[in-house]
């Protein structure tokens, strides 16, 4: 049986999944990117291939996420797609009549509006990181509550405290002040969830028509407090897919599956032993002074980007 690999390199996490020819998830891994996407992808591959010693017959590879270009080159992707399309494809697969996708990841959030199975509108936060996973992580850390339990704390609250949600700076100072007055942690956390949902709906979802069914995905969907706050605010049921945290990677794999690839460019599961390096130099060809990045495999340059004029580009139109 053939399999399809999906790679989603985000700012906070790097996810890899394998799906079979029917689109059923076979294996998934979730790794923190920690500022080093190359290493994260390699580690992910190692972890992924552990169970079956990498003996799957991979027929195609899809890459997505903000690091998709890099991931595409390293893994040898056949399809490189933006994460909005990837998330929509994955949500549609699980909930065919979905009309709204709420996605909150590590450092960005998006809303995707679909009608009759087609994306009709979307928005991605452009202003700030308030309300994304990193901020919740940081707050959980500050309150010394494990992030996995953070959401359940919110559910315990009987009378949530109002927290300013417009900006992470306002939110944090509001939380600190209220905590110093003696409000209970769970009421503050519930208040925070409500503030973040308010900010989300008022900022990136502004002017969008939110119709059911609503799917909530991305790492933050693990937070039961956020789900409850969305449901309370939208007065609608919010559905969380089983593999909510790797939906981008699933979407990329599904896109690869549908691309009718005759021969994959996949470099194989042995990839974690290959030495990839990156270095950069400043081009002095014009006043732009572009920082050009070289991606090297075993010392040989396999891709280059960062230049505005494409002077340094390595001709390979299928990736990028």
């Amino acid at each position: 049986m053939g399999y399809y690999l999906g790679v989603d390199v985000g700012s906070v996490s790097t996810n890899l999944v394998l799906i079979d020819e029917d689109g059923v998830l076979e294996e998934a891994t979730y790794i923190r990117t920690q500022g080093n996407p190359i290493k994260a992808v390699q580690e992910g591959m190692k972890k992924l291939s552990f169970r079956n010693k990498g003996k799957w017959d991979v027929k195609g590879v899809g890459a997505t996420g903000s690091g998709r270009q890099l991931a595409g080159v390293i893994v040898g992707a056949d399809v490189v797609k933006n994460e909005i399309t990837a998330h929509a494809v994955a949500a549609l697969r699980e909930v065919p009549n979905v009309q709204t996708v709420l996605e909150i990841g590590g450092q960005d959030s998006k809303i995707i509006i679909l009608r009759d199975g087609v994306v009709t509108d979307f928005a991605m936060n452009t202003v700030c990181a308030a309300g994304t996973g990193s901020f919740l992580d940081q707050q959980a850390n500050r309150l010394n509550i494990p992030i996995e339990k953070f959401g359940n704390y919110a559910l315990k609250s009987k009378s949530p405290v109002r927290i300013a949600g417009r900006c992470a700076v306002f939110a944090e100072s509001d939380m600190v002040h209220k905590q110093q007055l003696g409000y209970k942690a769970e009421d503050i956390i519930r208040g925070l969830c409500e503030a973040l949902v308010r900010n989300y709906l008022n900022n990136i979802a502004k002017g969008k028509e939110i119709c059911s069914r609503i799917v909530f995905q991305g790492g933050v969907a693990a937070n039961a407090g956020m789900k409850a706050a969305f449901e309370e605010s939208l007065k609608e049921e919010v559905y969380i897919p089983k593999h909510y945290d790797v939906m981008g990677a699933i979407g990329a794999a599904l896109l690869a599956k549908d691309a009718e690839i005759s021969k994959t460019r996949f470099k194989g599961f042995g990839l974690s032993d290959i030495k990839f390096t990156a270095d950069s130099f400043e081009c002095n060809g014009c006043p732009n002074h572009c920082e050009v990045v070289n991606i090297k495999m075993e010392g040989k340059v396999i891709a280059r980007w960062g230049d505005r004029c494409n002077k340094w580009k390595i001709a390979d139109d299928k990736i990028a």
């Binding site: 903000s66 979307f122 502004k206 006043p287």
Partner: protein
Amino acid sequence: MRRVSFPYMGTSYIPFEKLITAFGNEVVVPQRPTEETISYGTKYAPEFACYPFKIVLGTYIQALKAGANTLVSSGGVGPCRAGLYTTLQEKILKDLGYEFEMIVLEPPGRHLKDLMHNIKKLINTRLTLRDYLNIGRFTWKQLVLLDKVERLSHKTRPLEVKKGESTQVYKKCVELIAGAEEYKDLTDIERETQQLYDAIEKRDYDPIKIGIVGEIYVLMEPSSNLEIEEILGELGVYVERSMFLSGYTISNAVMDLFHMAGERDAKKMAAPYFKEMCGGHGRESIGNSIIFAKRGFDGIIQLSPFTCIPEIVAKSILPKVCKEHGVRFLTISLDEQTGKEGLRTRLEAFVDLLMAKRKKTKPVKVKSLVAKEMA
């Protein structure tokens, strides 16, 4: 002797340099905004000022460092705060210790006497009426030609077989036009540039069409909008901008003089949604979106400097306008970021969405309008 400089916006520096030189001044040609420009701008501008303000301030500093003693800028009539920006920039620069004269060219309709007085300051040589006519004819032709080759690049880019070829040809055309000395040169160059574009190998298909509207500076200066037209073109999209320099000059200088409304159509189209002027180009953004929709464009992209009030007003009206006219829109908020990935992600997704919409509503035509025009 006056050493004159001015803000950098698209290719406008080419005819402007010729004009100011012909008037008997030395010109310090402003630099294309780079990271250095932005660093100066953000360092000395108020934090809340918009991106165009910061870029222009940075450009002025670079020009003054290069020896300029006169800065020329267009004025504005508000109520957008950009109308007061020149005054504020002058104050900031003088506080920093630069010595120069700021000459503000206000729209002729309201400040004709002022404008004439200021233009006189820039004329530092004896010119006959014939000279004036010649200078005028040359500059105007240059301006129109620059716009023309840019439009051609927009048309050709999505159809090109070899990626990047149109951009190269466009750069070459601009160089040729900039090198022209007399009117006759320009007519020769016009023919030559057409041939250059004709020589590009093109595919024949109907590309997705996107109209770009928004605030003038981020619309016209590619370095401030992360070269959005180039990214879209290379994604196979035909791009058209609502504003070009020659059109803008006509509506804001010539029509204004006779108290005729510039960009009449755009304003008329916007009227049912947007009766009052809110400054900047908010109303034009709405009107031009409707015009694009009526012309059968697939989508609209609105470019807005972060915190730009007129564009924020337009943004909140656009969902209704676009729904009623059956087009999709995407707003891009611009500030000092130079990383293109975020923008590319949104543009790719937007193009995916438009393609899905087209597939659903109408069969793809084999021979395209754009391809026909190019043939």
